[in-house]
Symmetry: C2
Subunit: 333 residues, 2 copies
């Protein structure tokens, strides 16, 4: 009998998840029942949002329960099926969890077209990551050609794509990331017009230098002091897109809100949150655009694939919060 | 020669303005030159925004300079004129300052139609106060019939009108104010469906009771913990209108931002600032609607008129921050 390997949530973390917040389990793989199939995960998606799912309390999704397999999107291969729409050998995308095998009823599962791009990219640029950048920037941020777009966590999975889409739309793009290496990558690989190294300090001064006429669209993945700094430089009618707040997710003190949010009034600006799931009906539109831009070489997709199997999950996830990856962070099973 | 009486800004206040932050001056009234007129102020408008104008630093208007007459909107009578468009006896509205007499070149000055409403109301419901409520609620908040609209500082000048407009548009309206007397007024005089007394504590609990299905539009005049509480109860796609943040204006510690602003993401909601001046071209539209609603008795306009002359300005302004007024606070000259 095949053995499954899983990471389950053992305790609700305070701050950065500790090894004791996880439970590694091995158990026999079950048999799919009627209308179900068994998938063998090949790639598990690691996302900042996972940290939020580990907290108690109401949010846009229910928290992962203590003892439950950690929630995660994954791409895998169907290895046996009693489901009419999925056959052995199909490569599929779904919320299969941090485990080697999953049984699924097909809800929320889609087949992956590996002729468009290799499988891991369907967790990144051609998956929810890319869709988050696409709809957040275009639908919420509404950038116009010639405007200045600032993106935080710009070397990350969502940020690197958001910046490149803004560039395609004719905007001046400024990426914010930590350290000279990432900043070099922003300009040389992802085509940002300028990069700001937040670890070098004086974020406001750097912003003033690179966005002398202000910021029309800010795509925020981080919150905290970077959000504060950008709010102080908004143009009239600017749009702040709230995509994430990774600087706050592992904070052991209460999160901090933007103390200068009244800049929204001074600038007649808006700050809007969104969730990619709401755009599910329009994923094909995003896929078509993103695949075309990839093919034309107008978008560079980066994946950091960690080849450690399920066992490497806790450490790899913490690496995400330490900013060790560039582009999409994926665990190869 | 007629003597003018004025309040000038003597120092930039820390916290609540102190007597020493003001300088009372008397000086001869000048003669209007060509293209100018002399106005005798009858009513001076007292607004929370005045506190912001006293601070140094860039904002939507330049700060009042040290030694300058304090900026204020006022209604007065033209007493002599060398301006082709304004004649002796005209009743006019303009930014005439905290003083008995002002010389004006007519820029930003409008004639007041006292057949529509008595002069003080043109500083309140039929002036920038009413326009702020009108455009902030309708253009930014976009309430739909049947939705729940929450208004803070709801017994104040802007809040009381915003709530009544929301009611006219078929919304369920909840007003937040301090103390049982104001809360009684909200329901009995301004027609709110429910009132929340923030001084009674447990704002979140009271909100849950009166807005069990959440808040679709929040018209915020106060910021601080009330904003925090409402953010936690937004419906999906809710609109937060940032009209003011009076709880923060006199804070001696750095202002606090909404720590739970990520609720905007959970609720796919927006928070938008606005300034009434941007709607100047549409003031006639607002005036027509507001005057009609006043005539039909669908809007109650309250003014607290303090009959103390220019000398009473500093104390009366601090009364505004202490929440002593209901409706529009006006100083009778």
């Amino acid at each position: 009998m095949t053995a499954n390997a899983q990471y389950r949530l053992a305790a609700r973390p305070v701050g950065l998840p500790k090894p004791t917040d996880w439970q590694y389990t091995e158990e026999p793989v079950g048999e799919p029942g009627d209308g179900q199939f068994l998938v063998e995960n090949q790639y598990v998606s690691l996302d900042p949002a996972m940290r939020g799912w580990m907290n108690a309390g109401k949010s846009y999704l229910p928290p992962v329960g203590i003892g439950e397999v950690m929630r995660a999107a994954a791409v895998g291969t169907v290895v046996s099926s009693k489901h009419p729409d999925f056959a052995e050998g199909d490569i599929v995308h779904g919320v299969f969890g941090v485990q080697k095998y999953a049984i699924s009823d097909g809800k929320g599962v889609s087949k992956v077209d590996t002729s468009l791009a290799p499988a891991p990219m369907h967790l990144g640029t051609l998956g929810n990551t890319g869709f988050t950048a696409y709809f957040g920037l275009l639908d919420v941020g509404k950038p116009e050609a010639g405007q200045t777009v600032v993106v935080s966590a710009a070397a990350g999975a969502v940020g690197s794509i958001a910046g490149q889409i803004a560039k395609i739309k004719g905007c001046r793009t400024i990426g914010i990331a930590g350290g000279p290496e990432k900043c070099k990558l922003l300009v040389e690989e992802f085509g940002f017009d300028a990069a700001i190294d937040y670890k070098a300090g004086d974020i406001r001064g750097q912003l003033k230098e690179h966005a002398p006429n202000g910021v029309d669209v800010y795509f925020d993945n981080v919150g905290g002091e970077i959000l504060e700094a950008v709010l102080a430089r908004l143009t009239r009618g600017a749009r702040v897109v709230i995509s994430g707040a990774v600087s706050q997710y592992n904070s052991e003190t209460p999160p901090s809100g933007p103390a200068n949010y009244m800049q929204l009034l001074v600038a007649r600006a808006s700050m809007t949150g969104f969730l990619v799931f709401d755009y599910a009906a329009r994923y094909p539109e995003a896929t078509a655009d993103l695949a075309k831009w990839l093919q034309e070489g107008r978008i560079t997709s980066r994946e950091t694939i960690v080849d450690g199997g399920i066992a490497a999950f806790p450490e790899t996830l913490n690496g995400l919060f330490a900013g060790k990856n560039t582009g999409k962070l994926i665990l190869a099973v």
